[in-house]
């Protein structure tokens, strides 16, 4: 039962904040625009192997200043299920060391979802999130590696069947690498979703560490304008 049901319930993870990679690590230059496509998601056991959930999203970002960029995304897989979901936010550089080529950025964002099929119902959700990342430019203005963590907040006090919602904070450490070309960027990211939470019992056979959380893997391609 588990192997088959996993497809069904993994779908619920479409709406996990952590089912998208970090949107922006390094703010864009002022006036610069980027469109990116992302695929990947939590790793889980399926038919004797381990695969990432192939979740997709599209993002648009624009540099407001050299230190501040704004972004918005569309979770395209969620759209397939009749749910409009976006995360909109700001990437703000907090610190940059010119000699070390080391920077720190913060991304406050709102993740918003509204069901529109089969009806425009009460299926509205809003989750605040905030990411904090440190990056090191291997070649300035080109490739960089980064590490940081994502924080996702569930505001509801009650969950299904009138039971109390006990999880209000999902913590997700992450590492990644971006290879930057003149017009294109290519990124990979490994994230550890909710390492503080038990992953059993659960209808989804996650790939965690020591029975905690789940690992997730993403790749992204970006086009700069």
């Amino acid at each position: 039962m588990k192997n088959f049901l996993v497809i069904f319930f993994i779908s619920a993870l479409l709406f996990f904040n952590s089912c998208a990679p970090s949107r922006l690590i390094r703010p864009l230059d002022k006036g610069q625009k980027v469109v990116s496509a992302n695929i990947g998601g939590p790793l889980f056991h399926y038919s004797g192997t381990v695969i990432p959930v192939p979740l997709t999203s599209l993002m648009y970002a624009q540099g407001i200043t050299d230190n501040t960029s704004v972004f918005g995304s569309v979770h395209t897989t969620a759209l397939l299920f009749g749910v409009a979901q976006t995360d909109i936010g700001v990437c703000q550089r907090l610190y940059y060391n010119d000699s070390l080529h080391l920077g720190i950025s913060v991304n406050p964002a709102l993740n918003i979802a509204q069901e529109f099929w089969p009806q425009f119902s009460g299926g509205f959700k809003l989750w605040p999130q905030i990411d904090l990342n440190a990056y090191w430019e291997i070649h300035p203005k080109k490739s960089f590696v980064y590490a940081g963590f994502e924080n996702w907040f569930e505001l509801a006090t009650q969950r299904a069947d009138a039971q109390p919602q006990t999880t209000h904070w999902l913590f997700c450490p992450q590492v990644g690498y971006t290879y930057s070309r003149l017009k294109w960027n290519y990124s990979i990211e490994l994230k550890y979703i909710a390492p503080n939470l038990d992953n059993l019992p659960n209808v989804v056979d996650y790939v965690g560490i020591g029975g905690k959380g789940t690992l997730a893997f993403y790749i992204s391609v970006s086009r700069k304008f």
Binding site: M1, F9, A12, V74, A78, L80, P118, A160, Q165
Partner: protein
Amino acid sequence: MKKSYILFALLVVSFSSCFKLDSQLFNNLKCTQYLLDNYTGTQDFILDNSYKIPDSLIHIFTLQSREPSESNATQIYAIYIGDISKIATDTVIMYCHGNKWNMDFYWQRAKLLANTGNKNQYGVLMVDYRGYGMSSGTPTEDGMYADVDAALQWLNNKGLSNSRLMIYGFSLGSVPATMLTAHPRTMTPAKLILEAPFASSATLVNDATQLDLPPSYVTTFKIDNADEIKLVNQPFMWMHGLSDTFLNWQTNGLVVYNNYQGIYKEKHLIPGADHGEIPVKDGFVQYSSDLYAFIKR
């Protein structure tokens, strides 16, 4: 740059659709014949010969099942263990099996139930829901209710009284068992037994995400045992493994148990039992003894 905006918008619109993953819930496996004791596939347990059912008490037959929205009936397969001519005076357990595969997988469980309390003590009826085993059609939530009710119609036609009908639901089978006890159609079960039940589709989605995620995002299922159980007044027995790694006993079974407001309830929490392991971890004798005591009380 305008082109990129247009491209972005087109991609968004083109992805917009109306998928739900309802059909992915069902783990049905088709077969061309029922092998029963000769079945060699994976099973939770295999009983020894002391539980063997004489061939004369094994009946495989078809039923016509029609859910309200259907114009034509669907042919489903059923197995009855017992003497059909004595159904009117026997106690019968309607066994609603779980999601895995088909009746061959649950044959050992059905034998165990038939031998509850004594050798060939009770009649046991189970069906393969539409799309499972040799049953025609495609699994649906409403179809599952109709299929179990078709079985109850057959029992009713054989003269079984409500007072001698026990309904037992394991895992997914807890859904039709609870629904048809809360909202009786052809027959009203005298007692309800749930082994490792779901609470609701919402709970499953919430458990999977740790978030208060609306289940309607991914499914149109209305499965809600936690709510339906409030309408059940008949005596209720709940069993759940404390090591169930699939359906959390606290967020699923316990919620159903606590929401029950009828005349009598009892619970059996089995240490060390994972999903499907209750008869083994509890021990066949103890499992049967508890079940027998509940049915007889």
